[in-house]
């Protein structure tokens, strides 16, 4: 078939995309957060002393860290999904830098004898299973969005989707988790995030080709 002939078929196909990528992103964030919220409030639930915990800076900082991971990774989703868009990968450093600073503050504020217990915490296993579990819905939504678009770096696109998803998952989980030390968050939340991001990377390489 000649190239000019192919163009005639393309022109005749008026099946235009009903939504723009920006709207699709908003929709996938909403859908992903909703799935995570339902799972959280039905099966996991906030910790019983949450009203009291909300007065403590360590508890509040967990949300700063997880929400900044979600926000910065979400900023990369569209640029990664649109060919030729400018990419500011450096924003991903925000959450790690915040965690690093919080760890330094914690090490200064707490006697060294307590460092170990704070780092190990009481429910690391829940952290490593529930964060990935809460991230599944958002991850599926972001991968779906990416697949509808055109990521030229499928692996990295999947990884960013994984980071954004675990940012959302961890934000919910933080309200359940009773380990509030930045030391705990830095080790275990990050490990859980790495699991989700790795899954996103491989799923991206496999399913985001176009």
């Amino acid at each position: 078939m000649k190239t000019d002939e192919l163009i005639e078929s393309l022109v005749a196909d008026e099946a235009a995309a009903p939504v723009r990528p920006g709207a699709a992103l908003a929709l996938s964030v909403l859908a992903g957060a909703l799935i995570a919220a339902v799972l959280f409030f039905v099966a996991i639930r906030p910790r019983p002393d949450i009203a009291d915990a909300a007065h403590h800076i360590r508890f509040l900082f967990k949300f700063v860290a997880t929400a900044s991971l979600a926000t910065t990774a979400l900023c990369l989703i569209l640029p990664l999904a649109q060919p030729g868009a400018t990419l500011h990968r450096a924003v991903l450093a925000v959450a790690p830098v915040l965690l690093g600073l919080a760890c330094i503050a914690e090490l200064l504020a707490v006697p060294s004898a307590e460092w170990g217990t704070r780092l190990v915490g009481t429910n690391a296993r829940f952290c490593l299973t529930l964060i990935p579990l809460l991230s599944l819905g958002p991850l599926a939504c972001f991968l779906w969005l990416m697949r509808w678009c055109a990521p030229t770096a499928p692996g990295f696109a999947g990884l960013a989707a994984g980071l954004a998803a675990s940012g959302i998952g961890a934000t919910f989980y933080a309200a359940h988790c009773t380990d509030d030390s930045p030391l705990f968050v830095t080790v275990w939340y990050s490990l859980a995030t790495a699991l989700v991001a790795t899954a996103g990377f491989y799923l991206g390489r496999r399913y985001l080709r176009w």
């Binding site: 078939m1 000649k2 190239t3 000019d4 002939e5 192919l6 163009i7 005639e8 078929s9 393309l10 022109v11 005749a12 196909d13 008026e14 099946a15 235009a16 995309a17 939504v19 723009r20 990528p21 999904a81 649109q82 060919p83 030729g84 868009a85 678009c149 055109a150 030229t152 080709r209 176009w210």
Partner: protein
């Protein structure tokens, strides 16, 4: 950053096209094709692959795959931004992908698409061979519709009347056929 004149014209047509203007869409696709062709051939040449390729890779097949991708992913162009980098990224992605499938590694960058001498097709147009092979793998109805509109120059309406289908059904079948062709390109090993 300044943008070349052709790019601004393409962007203007593409905006109209995304708004449903078929003539503008035909114009922009016809206008970008010689540039995409030049970019594709340049890269082939730099890798020492001849026009018709000892491996049977015809750059025109890649050009057609790129046009299909441009069509199916046109919603990913941000209308606020210049169209050149978007097109260049799709071209680069598809050329690299095609060559990788055939065992080449290629890291030569593709510059701004509009920054090359366009390669016009001869008067009777350039043929791709892969597409004909892939058309064979569509179902009869889809193949008939694509051939009717592409090669015999019929409209959707005329095709629908001949096949005793509604216009809408022809459009749906056409859209599915184009998506299948894009998938076949991608999964084609040789």
């Amino acid at each position: 950053m300044t943008h070349s004149e052709p790019e601004e014209q393409w962007a203007a047509w593409m905006r109209l096209a995304l708004d449903g203007d078929g003539d503008a869409y035909r114009r922009v696709l016809a206008a970008i094709t010689p540039y995409v062709r030049a970019q594709t051939r340049n890269r082939f040449k730099r890798l020492g692959i001849d026009r018709l390729g000892r491996d049977g890779v015809d750059p025109e097949d890649v050009v057609q795959e790129i046009l299909l991708a441009v069509h199916l992913k046109r919603h990913t162009w941000d209308m606020e931004r210049p169209i050149g980098p978007w097109l260049a990224a799709i071209t680069r992605h598809k050329v690299i992908d095609t060559l990788r499938r055939r065992g080449y590694r290629s890291d030569v960058p593709i510059e701004d698409v509009a920054n090359v001498l366009p390669v016009e097709a001869a008067e009777d147009g350039l043929d791709g061979r892969d597409l004909d092979r892939m058309l064979e793998r569509l179902n009869d109805r889809q193949r008939d519709i694509v051939q009717s509109i592409s090669m015999r120059g019929n409209s959707v309406r005329e095709t629908a009347e001949r096949l005793n289908m509604s216009d809408g059904a022809v459009r749906v079948a056409l859209h599915r056929a184009l998506k299948s062709l894009a998938l076949l390109f991608r999964s084609d090993p040789a």
